[in-house]
């Protein structure tokens, strides 16, 4: 069964460093998402992406964050200058269609630790 994959599974970085989290969505999906989950807290929406542009973003997704689909398969989240509070699990998700509420398929996540 097709699945969303994410790399790396764990990332440790120093405060102020840039990190890039990578995702490979399911191949025929058109809508892509990033979420984060701080330990013990709820899953929070960051950004949605369709047709090579951001379709919606949350207030968390400030200028430090950017997303890109550099080729036909990868979808990346970049954090330019990491802060301690960026430590969280980051999930990528994708879905095939934007209407009707079709299932979002989540990846296994990248656990980011900022020291």
């Amino acid at each position: 069964e097709p699945e969303v994959t994410q790399t790396p599974s764990h990332q440790v970085t120093q405060m102020g460093q840039e990190v890039i989290l990578r995702c490979v969505p399911i191949s025929n999906h058109l809508y892509f998402y990033w979420y984060r989950q701080i330990l013990g807290q709820k899953v929070e929406f960051l950004v949605s992406f369709y047709n090579n542009e951001i379709s919606e973003k949350s207030e968390i997704f400030d200028d430090q964050f950017s997303v890109e689909r550099p080729d036909g398969s990868n979808f990346t989240l970049k954090i330019r200058s990491t802060k301690l509070e960026d430590s969280a699990m980051y999930f990528c998700a994708s879905r095939v269609s934007g209407t009707g509420g079709e299932t979002q398929y989540f990846g296994p996540g990248t656990r980011l630790l900022v020291l």
Binding site: T99, T103, F106, P108, G109
Partner: protein, 113 residues
């Protein structure tokens, strides 16, 4: 502001009983609602979707109800098993294709053998 509340942080039930989880929302008119399961250190896994014009949905031992008047969804697991132990999340979507998704805080279900 929009708010989603799931009835309790944790719920313990005996194996074989029916687990009932609640999701209440305010200041929101979702087109549809989803329930997900999340195991520790893993991503959410989709279980069921119910649309605003639907009252009830079933899938095997799972049942979801959606009352837009009460602004509430109930999620039932019948004949519960220890393998059902996980955190269950409700998620609300607005109308339109790719609207922001808002998740509840989750209810951690423990099924005791």
């Amino acid at each position: 502001s929009q708010k989603i509340e799931q009835n309790s942080e944790a719920l313990n039930i005996q194996e074989g009983k029916t687990a009932t989880l609640t999701c209440n929302y305010t200041n929101y008119s979702p087109a549809y609602l989803q329930w997900y399961r999340q195991d520790p250190g893993r991503g959410p896994v989709f279980l069921l979707l119910i649309r605003e014009n639907e009252k009830e949905k079933r899938k095997e031992r799972l049942k979801v109800t959606f009352d837009t008047t009460l602004k509430q969804s109930l999620f039932h697991i019948t004949a519960s098993q220890p393998a059902d132990s996980a955190t269950y999340l409700c998620a609300l979507f607005g109308s339109g294709g790719y609207q922001k998704v808002t998740f509840g805080t989750g209810t951690k279900l423990q099924v005791i053998p």
